[in-house]
Amino acid sequence: MKMKTLAAMALAGAVASGPAVADLVIPDLSYRTGPYAAGGTPFSDGYQDYFNLLNARDGGIGGEPVRIVECETGYNTEKGVECYESTKGEGALIYQPLSTGITYQLIPKATADEIPIHTMGYGRTSAANGEVFNWVFNYPANYWDAASVAVNYLLDENGGDLNGKTIALVYHNSAYGKEPIRTLESLAEMHGFELSQLAVDHPGQEQKSQWLQIRRERPDYVLMWGWGVMNQVAVQEAANIGFPMENFIGNWWAGAEHDVTPAGDAANGYKSLNMNRVIDYPVLADIQSMVHDAGNAAGDGSHMGSVLYVRGMYAAMLAAEAIAKAQEIHGVADVTPAMVRDGMEALEITDARMGELGMEGIGPEFSVSCADHGGAGQGLVQQWNAADSTWVPLTDFISPDDAVIAPLVAEDSAAFAAESGITPGCL
C-alpha cells in the first residue's frame, strides 16, 4: 500500500513537473550577473517582455502559449553551453545565445541537434551563408556589414572620398573584436584610407596606451569594436585626450545608454551604429499596460525603451514571426525546431508588418532564403545627446557594400564547410 502510494505520488510529481507539451518553449540564455550584466539585463528584459505580451494579448503565437526558460550564462562560454544542454530537452524551438563565444560552441551542437540558432548582429559572420550553416541565422545584419556600413557613412560624410584619411580601429582583443579587421582592410584598399589597428586586452579597464597612441597619430576617425567596460573607458579616454566625439563611432554593441552615461557631458556627440531604431513604439505602451502593470515584467521595468531593451524586443519579434511563419507553412500550431527553422528561412519582414506589430521602422525590410541567412545587413548611425540623455538617429538604414562582403562570406563559409566535411546545400 505504502509503495503504491509512493509510486502514485512520484508519477503525479513527474507529470506535474514535466514540460507542458503544447507550449512553445523559448530558452533565454541571459546574463544578469557579472561584468557584462549591464548589457545582458536590458536585452533579456525586452526579449522576455515581448513574449509575455504575446501571451497576455494574443494567447501566445497562433494560439499556443509561449514558455520562456531562462538560464543565466554570466556571458561565460562554458556556462552558455551548459545552459544549452540543460534547456534543449525542454523542447527548445530557437536559441539566441547573445554571445559570440557561446555561438561558436553551439553551432556544431545545435546543427547536430537540429535546433535553429539566431545570432542577431553577432556570432559567426559567414553563417550568413545558409547553404553551409543550415541551422544558423544572423539576420538582419552581421559584423562585416557593420564595418561596411560605418565606412559607407564616412564616405557619405566626406563627399564619397576617404582617400588619404586615417581611420583607427580600437578593438576588443578577442575573436569578436577582430571580426571587422579583414573587411576594413579590404575597404581601406578599395577607398584609399589608412587603417590603424589598436587592440585592447580584456576587460578593457586600462586603455591609456591606446589613447595616447591615438593622441600622437591623430587619426581622422576612430571606430570601436568594444563590449562591456571597454566601451565606457574608451568613451572617457577619448574625451580625456580631447578627441572630437563626432568622429568616434562605435559598433552596435558599443552604443547603449550605459556605454556613455559614466562619462557624463563629455560623451556628448559620440556616435554608434545601431541595427534597430530606438523610438517610442506603440508596442511599448502595450507592454507597459499588459505586462508591466500586470506584474509580469521580466525585470524591474527600468530598462523599458532603452537601446538594448528594444533590441531584445526586436529579436523576440523576429523569433515570434518565424514561429508564426512555421505554423503557416506546416499547418500546425505546436511546431518543432525543424519547422521553426523552415519558418526562419521563409521569413519576410516588411514595413507594413512591422507597423502592424506596433514597431514601425524598428529595423530594415528584409527577407531570408536558403542561400541568405544574413538579411539586409543594414544599420543606422545614431548620436548621443548628453543633455537629453537620448540617442538621436542621424541616418536612415544604410546598406553595406555587398560586393566586398559577399566574397568574404563565401570564402570563410567554404573554408568552414571544408574543415567540417559539410556539403553545401539547402534542407
Binding site: R32, T33, G34, P35, Y36, A37, A38, T41, N173, Q197, L198, A199, V200, D201, P203, Q205, E206, K208, S209, Q210, L212, Q213, R215, R216, G228, V229, Q232, V233, Q236, A239, N240, I241, G242, H258, T261, P262, A263, G264, A266, G295, D300, S302
Partner: protein, 332 residues
C-alpha cells in the same frame, strides 16, 4: 628634442600614474597578507562592493530593493534623498568595518590554524559571496560616481610643455584624475605608515604581523587586530574603487582590477607597503614603455597584461620574495 623621445617621456609619466592606481589595489592585499598570512582573493570584489555601496548611499538607493519588491510586491527603489559625498564616504567606511567584523566573526575565526591554502579558498568563496550580495543589494546597472573628481587632460601641462618639441609634438598628456589618484595614494600610504608606526593599534598590528604567538603572549587580541586589518583593507579598497570607478563607472568588472595588482605583488613582495608602491610604479612604467616601443609597433599591441606578468616572473626568478619582501630563511 625629437617628438619620439618626448612621447617616450610622456609614456613613462603616464606609466607612473597608472602604476599608482595598480598600487592602490595592491595595498589592500599587502595589509591583509602581512597581518594574517591570508592572500585575499576578494580584494578586487571588496573594491567593487565599497564603490557600489558609496554610490548607493549617495543616491539614496534602497538596499536589496529588487529582492524586497519581488517578495512583497512593492515598487520601491529610492528613499527620495541624496547623501552628501563626505557623509556617504563615512557611512561606506562603517559598512566596510562591519564587513570586516563579519568576515572575521563568521569565517576566519573558525579557520585559525588552518593551512594557507584553506584560507585562500575561503577568500575565493568570500569573493563570489560578496559579488552576489553586491548585486542583490545595489543591482547590476552601471553607476556614475558623482564625487566631482576632475577628468581629462591637463591643458596647463599640455600648453607648458608643447614648446619642448616641434610641430608634431602636442605637449605632455597627463590625466587630472591620475594626478588626484597620485596625491590620494601618497596621503594614504603616509597615513598607513604613520598609523603603523605611531599608534598603539598600529604597533599591535605590526607585532601580530611579526609573530602571532609572541603578540598573543603580551595580550594583543588577534581577533581585534584582524578586524582592524580587514577594515583598513576595506578602506583602501574603497579608495581604489572610487578612482577606478571614476574612469569607467561603477560596474561589476571593477572586481577584475585585482588582476592588475597580482604582478605588482609578485614584484614588490606580499608584505611590504613601499614594495606595493614601487612594484606598481615599475609595472606601470614597464608595461606602458614596452607597449610603446615594441608591443604596438611590432607585436600588434595589447601586450600590457602579459608583459606585466612576464616582468614579475623575471623578478621572481632572481628574488622570489619580491623586491621588498621578507627574506625567506629556512635553517635546518
Amino acid at each position: 628634442m625629437s617628438a619620439d623621445f618626448l612621447y617616450g617621456i610622456e609614456v613613462i609619466i603616464n606609466g607612473l600614474m597608472a602604476g599608482v592606481l595598480y598600487a592602490l589595489v595592491a595595498l589592500g592585499f599587502v595589509l591583509i597578507f602581512k597581518a594574517s598570512g591570508i592572500f585575499n582573493y576578494a580584494q578586487g570584489v571588496m573594491a567593487l562592493f565599497a564603490a557600489l555601496t558609496l554610490v548607493g548611499i549617495m543616491e539614496g538607493q534602497v538596499p536589496f530593493a529588487h529582492l524586497l519588491n519581488a517578495i512583497f510586491g512593492t515598487d520601491i527603489h529610492h528613499f527620495g534623498w541624496e547623501v552628501p559625498a563626505l557623509l556617504a564616504i563615512f557611512l561606506t567606511v562603517l559598512v566596510m568595518v562591519a564587513f570586516a567584523w563579519a568576515v572575521q566573526h563568521f569565517v576566519f575565526r573558525h579557520l585559525v590554524g588552518q593551512e594557507p591554502i584553506i584560507l585562500f579558498m575561503a577568500t575565493i568563496g568570500l569573493a563570489y559571496f560578496l559579488e552576489g550580495v553586491g548585486d542583490l543589494m545595489w543591482g547590476s546597472d552601471i553607476k556614475t560616481i558623482a564625487l566631482g573628481l576632475p577628468q581629462g587632460g591637463s591643458f596647463w601641462v599640455e600648453d607648458m610643455t608643447a614648446s619642448l618639441g616641434g610641430d608634431d609634438f602636442y605637449g605632455f598628456f597627463i590625466d587630472k584624475l591620475d594626478m588626484v589618484a597620485t596625491v590620494v595614494a601618497i596621503v594614504l600610504v603616509i597615513s598607513l605608515i604613520a598609523f603603523a608606526q605611531y599608534t598603539k593599534q598600529g604597533r599591535a598590528m605590526r607585532a601580530v604581523a611579526d609573530d602571532h604567538q609572541a603578540a598573543l603572549s603580551v595580550g594583543i587580541s588577534l581577533n581585534y587586530i584582524w578586524v582592524l586589518v580587514w577594515s583598513l583593507a576595506g578602506i583602501v579598497a574603497m579608495v581604489a574603487g572610487i578612482m577606478w570607478g571614476a574612469k569607467s563607472g561603477v560596474q561589476f568588472s571593477l572586481s577584475l582590477i585585482a588582476l592588475k595588482a597580482l604582478p605588482v605583488l609578485m614584484l614588490g613582495g606580499f608584505t611590504s607597503i613601499p614594495g606595493a608602491i614601487v612594484g606598481g610604479l615599475i609595472i606601470g612604467v614597464g608595461e606602458k614603455l614596452f607597449e610603446y616601443t615594441i608591443g604596438a609597433p611590432f607585436l600588434g599591441g595589447a601586450t600590457e597584461n602579459w608583459f606585466a606578468y612576464m616582468l614579475a616572473l623575471i623578478f621572481l626568478v632572481f628574488r622570489p620574495q619580491g623586491l621588498f619582501g621578507e627574506r625567506i630563511i629556512e635553517r635546518v
